[in-house]
């Protein structure tokens, strides 16, 4: 290595020696390491915290964030159509938010905080499930 590269290495490692332990300490200091139980389904619980509202039933879990709605579909629905509607003040379906297919985590853009959501089968004209926030 040239003297410049050796110097660069030195400064990078000095920086890492300060920053990395700091990140490690600050990120784990509040964790209850010795009393926490192993969460085997953490990844199916969604990717982030800090939702404004959350509601859940046996089919779905929905979380409202500032600009989007996260829906976790726990298992693939047997219905051929599963459209997500925003719930109005009377508890009826209003605007379409999106559509669900297979089990998984869905993110939909929203402009305002919905009162709730309704999953509706548009082909059979039946309500599959609904959640109020």
């Amino acid at each position: 290595m040239t003297s410049g590269l050796r110097k660069a290495h030195k400064y990078i490692w000095l920086l890492l020696l300060i920053i990395v332990p700091l990140i490690m300490i600050l990120s784990v200091k509040d964790l209850e390491i010795f009393s926490s139980e192993s969460d085997t389904t953490s990844q199916s619980n969604g990717s982030k915290k800090g939702s404004l509202k959350t509601s859940e039933n046996e089919l779905i879990k929905a979380s409202v964030f500032e600009s989007h709605l996260e829906i976790i579909l726990k298992a693939t629905l047997k219905t051929s159509s599963s459209v997500v509607y925003e719930m109005d003040t009377k508890g009826n379906k209003s605007t379409i938010i999106g559509q669900l297919t297979a089990a998984g985590i869905y993110n939909f853009n929203i402009n305002n905080l919905p009162k709730g959501i309704i999953i509706y089968d548009d082909l059979k004209q039946v309500e599959i499930t609904k959640l109020k926030f």
Partner: protein, 342 residues
């Protein structure tokens, strides 16, 4: 030191080494899957893939990061250094599978662009423990992609060794991002003293080896040389082994003084390929051979033998009895200097 570029310059060593990499990666994935199914049978396939390849990439990155300092401390590790790039590309593939599956699992469904979703689904950028850790992983993957895609000698030749090396030193920032990604992500959701301990231990090992190597290198740079009428007294001739070199720091740059066939020659210690320490190599078939990747230079003029074009700076030497003196002013790269006979 190829004039034309081939996709991969295979040789027997590289083939063996690559087989070891592939088999080890497969074994790890199989073992990880088996342990998961035994102890955590509810885990979905997507989650298993994300975790298996993520942890594999981290382990491989740690191995990659210790190869450099280990090779500086013990020459037995040099063959691994020679093949490090293939390990790096393999590690990127593992990281890409982890990142790709995570993107699919968490952001590909719905009507939001997955990349946009990654950056906006959690806007808690002001928080530490609730920080959008996936963004950190995304940037780390971007760095690994840059490195893997420019790992071929074609880019090394066209970007210049200096730019290429600086680009590839971004791996350290990638490493810091990955540590933050794991500590602010996986460790927040699934706390385990064991996994946290392993990561901390990994950092201690990597950082310690780099520090030890750094201090060892510093010793060479701080060795005092006496000046006599513009020449620097560097060593006694007996201190240099036949067909080997001794390294000195002259005007802040390393110089390697080689002893060969009753002659002494001095060249700049930095190989034009990847900055390897030429002075830690030896003379093979009359050429100074870099210990890292085998690039060769003629001792008398610092030029790679034709048809290759690499060249390094040369230095003038003189002998006063058994004492070796060097002129600290370097000649232009590839300048012919009459070897100092003894």
């Amino acid at each position: 030191m190829g004039l034309d570029y081939k996709l991969v310059l295979w040789n027997a060593h590289k083939k063996t080494y690559d087989k070891i990499i592939v088999v080890s990666m497969l074994l790890y994935i199989i073992m990880f899957a088996a342990i998961t199914f035994v102890f955590n049978s509810e885990t979905s396939i997507e989650t298993l893939v994300i975790r298996a390849f993520g942890s594999l990439a981290i382990i491989m990155l740690h191995i990659i990061l210790v190869i450099g300092p280990l090779a500086r401390l013990n020459t037995n590790f040099l063959p691994i250094l020679y093949n490090r790039r293939h390990l790096g590309v393999s590690m990127f593939i593992a990281a890409l599978i982890h990142g790709g599956f995570s993107m699919f699992q968490f952001h590909a469904l719905g009507d939001v662009n997955p990349v946009y979703s990654l950056f906006t689904s959690n806007m808690d950028y002001g928080s530490l423990t609730n920080f959008p850790f996936q963004v950190l992983g995304f940037f780390a993957l971007l760095i690994l992609f840059l490195m893997a895609s420019t790992s071929h000698d074609f880019f090394l030749g066209n970007l210049s060794a200096k730019v290429w090396k600086r680009l590839h030193m971004m791996v350290y920032f990638g490493y810091a991002l990955i540590i933050a990604h794991v500590f602010l992500g996986a460790f927040q959701q699934e706390t385990s003293l064991f996994t946290i301990g392993i990561m901390v231990l990994g950092f201690i090992v990597v950082a310690s080896l780099h520090l030890i190597t750094g201090f060892k290198e510093r010793k060479i740079d701080t060795t005092k040389t006496k000046e006599k009428e513009g020449w620097l007294e560097v060593c006694n001739i007996s201190e240099i082994e036949e067909d080997r070199a001794k390294i000195f720091t002259v005007e802040n740059e390393r110089v390697a003084i080689f002893k060969h066939n009753g002659k002494l020659s001095a060249i700049h210690n930095v190989c034009k390929h990847q900055g390897g320490p030429l002075g830690e190599g030896k003379i093979i078939d009359g050429c100074i051979t870099c210990p890292w990747h085998g690039y060769q230079y003629l001792p008398s003029n610092g030029q790679s033998p034709p048809p290759f074009t690499e060249k390094v700076a040369t230095y003038e030497l003189k002998l006063d009895g058994e004492t070796v003196f060097i002129n600290p002013k370097a000649f232009e790269e590839g300048t012919e200097v009459k070897p100092c006979k003894f």
